[in-house]
């Protein structure tokens, strides 16, 4: 609905923002985006909010934790680990 109000360059930048933030673009593409951002406050503001979204995901620590590992479940895992070690061919 609002799309006609964005010029083509803004839309192009909008479509490349994640790759730009992740440093996955070529040097040229990156420079081109930066050249646009310098003169386009709305794109800067939007890019900044997207950068912060990613940053929040990086900092995010889960609220939901599993119940403590039961003794039996732990034994099962330890047993699998020991069997794996025991099954190795001896190095000689």
């Amino acid at each position: 609905m609002a799309s006609h109000e964005h010029n083509e360059k803004c839309k192009e930048v909008f479509s490349l923002l994640s790759e730009y933030l992740d440093l996955e673009l070529t040097a040229e593409a990156c420079q081109e985006i930066e050249a646009h951002l310098v003169g386009c406050p709305p794109c800067i503001e939007f890019a900044e909010s997207l950068r912060k979204t990613v940053d929040l995901c990086h900092r995010y620590q889960p609220t939901e934790l599993p119940d403590p590992l039961g003794q039996q479940a732990r034994e099962q895992l330890l047993d699998a680990y020991r069997k794996m070690l025991a099954g190795r061919k001896p190095v000689s």
């Binding site: 109000e5 964005h6 909010s49 979204t53 929040l56 099962q76 069997k83």
Partner: protein, 203 residues
């Protein structure tokens, strides 16, 4: 825990040193549980996925040739365990998100184009520690269609690389990039809505 620490624990276990066992299990169990919980939506399933994954990990530890790859290797196993467990249609099944639905709205009041956007200037701050914003983020990720949610969890929460994520999910790197961008835009939009409606809670 940093990836370096995980790699070190994996090295110790591969070398046959069981002292690393409990730390390793506790750390990855919480990670796998969380990923599966957001993918399957059920605590019970997520705990089973965590146990099944770890069992497979210990049985086949020698298949991990390069301990540097321990995190993506474990998530590869977890993803498969999760697929087996998944109860269809729990929430937000796969669908496509288009870029256009996330184009920001501009207002032209006063001649100059202005973005209609919340005030993000207070982020990030200690609000991340508060459960409210965290809850909004969790819900936003949980509401993503499944094919976007898995990409965002692996790339932005687990901080795996584009290539690692592509290998785990059996996608091309380009598809991972496309989905990640749309997932981030969708989550950004949810956060923006939250920030717009709760301005007073910011400070």
């Amino acid at each position: 825990m940093e990836r370096d620490t995980e790699v070190e624990l994996a090295r110790q276990l591969i070398a046959g040193n069981p002292e690393a066992f409990d730390r390793f299990v506790e750390h990855f169990r919480a990670k796998i549980f969380h990923y599966s919980w957001l993918m399957c939506g059920q605590r019970e399933d997520a705990e089973e996925v965590a146990q099944e994954t770890l069992l497979k990990v210990f049985e086949s530890f020698d298949h991990l040739r390069d301990p540097e790859r321990v995190r993506p290797w474990i998530f590869q196993i977890a993803k498969n365990a999760c697929l087996m467990k998944r109860r269809k249609s729990v929430f937000a099944p796969s669908k496509e998100l288009s870029l256009d639905e996330f184009l920001p709205t501009m207002s032209h009041a006063g001649g100059h184009g202005k973005l209609q956007i919340a005030d993000w200037s207070s982020l990030p701050d200690d609000r991340m520690l508060r459960s409210e914003l965290k809850g909004v983020l969790e819900q936003a990720i949980g509401e993503l269609p499944e094919n976007y949610r898995s990409v965002m969890l692996l790339r932005d929460v687990e901080e795996l690389s584009t290539l690692e994520t592509a290998q785990i999910l059996d996608l091309t790197e380009d598809v991972v990039k496309t989905r990640l961008h749309r997932a981030r835009l969708a989550v950004r939009q949810k956060l923006d809505e939250y920030l717009s409606t709760s301005p007073a809670r910011g400070k």
